[in-house]
Point group: D2
Chain length 140, copies 4
């Protein structure tokens, strides 16, 4: 399915509709079968010991698949997350950004499904994986 | 399994080890088969439109089961979340706190499993449900 | 939400539309907030060592929530499972039936969500828990 | 991590330890980052209408990741499935085998995590995806 929103339009959308978190993220790739988002790790994302918190990784996974859907449906989309199953597999490397790579596996009339691998920047072993489902509202 | 940490000890643990988020939560019940935590909703938990964000609900579900484990294992526990599957079922009521009720379904030697229902305070229909798994580190 | 199909009608539906598996199951309770199904364990459900296989427990969880939806929507329903997250927590007791208790947490226009606890008959500790989502086809 | 069991040894293991289901599956690829298994669809795997049942797809996902673990750990392994989250995304093509491609994302001391895409043979759009976790018993 063709991409109809590229990185600048997606960032603009985030900045306007998700103002509180838009600064956390940088979109680094928007391709047919891969959207990549970077979490710019700040103190507020950390747990004691310096690892990125679970909710911050959840937010990264969620925003990555959400943007992948948006890149195909355009800015009218108001997809709502209905399910997320996330596995935390390794401790993220301290002081390193996290990079999420999202694939869109289904973009149906009422449901979209994607999955995500999250890695510490520069590492190959994933720290987390997630599968997410979104409900697509009826077209207006 | 007997409860060995009650609400004051659990709150103290949160305040010390999860200082950044401890103020978000109030523990309202600690029982054999139910631990209840309230998310004191602030602007930082909200999405445009005034509903509580997915990551905030994830954090609430996670802390609720984590505290249920802690209440049985005591403060030496450093359980690590390994999996969470969460269903977002309804929009939370605007301007209302969220209440999570967690059950511990298994507390094994290496894994603990719990589930959670999250409701808007005063409502009966759940806004979210989650199942979480934790890895229990070997005893010291 | 009122129950519009009771146990005999549900069993009849299973026997007609799921002939291959209907004999595996007995519906033992149909209530407003609980539907209970028993898996009559046969050799074909077992793994080496005599425990019930994962796919058999998945099938039991799925049929329990499916029947709970059907009991509210009636026989016109053709709900389709879209997601299942299942935790296997304990080894089922050998030579014992499994009993699933399902709750319907949401019955929306397009999605239904339920969860299930599975126990060995006569035991209180659950062997598995699952959350399931179904897509509800548009009304005819 | 090196592969220490190839396809013939894996099939032999299945035939001996999972005699009831071994005939359902054919292992078609065993590589460092991919293990592929084919479900030879028979009548007993079908639902009314001729599509493969959910439990059959669950079984296929489970066996694929299980074999991927086994291919690295060798035949002493007795990994136990602890969690599976599966998304059913499309109706499988009628009268077609299903092919599962599994990746091992983590092989730790106590937990292994993998994910799977299932497709109808010859199709590119996946019919299901799953993430699975296994508990690895202590080495003997």
């Amino acid at each position: 399915m063709a991409i109809i929103m590229q990185e600048p339009a997606l960032m603009e959308f985030l900045a306007r509709d998700f103002a509180q978190v838009a600064d956390d993220f940088t979109i680094t790739r928007v391709e047919e079968d891969l959207l990549e988002v970077r979490l710019n790790v700040e103190d507020r994302h950390l747990r004691p010991g310096g690892t990125v918190s679970g909710p911050s990784m959840f937010a990264l996974a969620d925003v990555a698949v959400y943007l992948a859907i948006l890149s195909r449906l355009g800015p009218v989309a108001l997809a709502v997350t209905t399910n997320c199953s996330i596995d935390f597999m390794r401790k993220p490397a301290a002081g390193r950004a996290l990079v999420a790579q999202a694939r869109l596996l289904k973009l149906g009339r009422v449901l979209a499904v994607g999955d995500v691998l999250i890695r510490s920047e520069g590492e190959s072993a994933p720290v987390a994986r997630a599968g997410l489902t979104y409900s697509i509202p009826p077209a207006r």
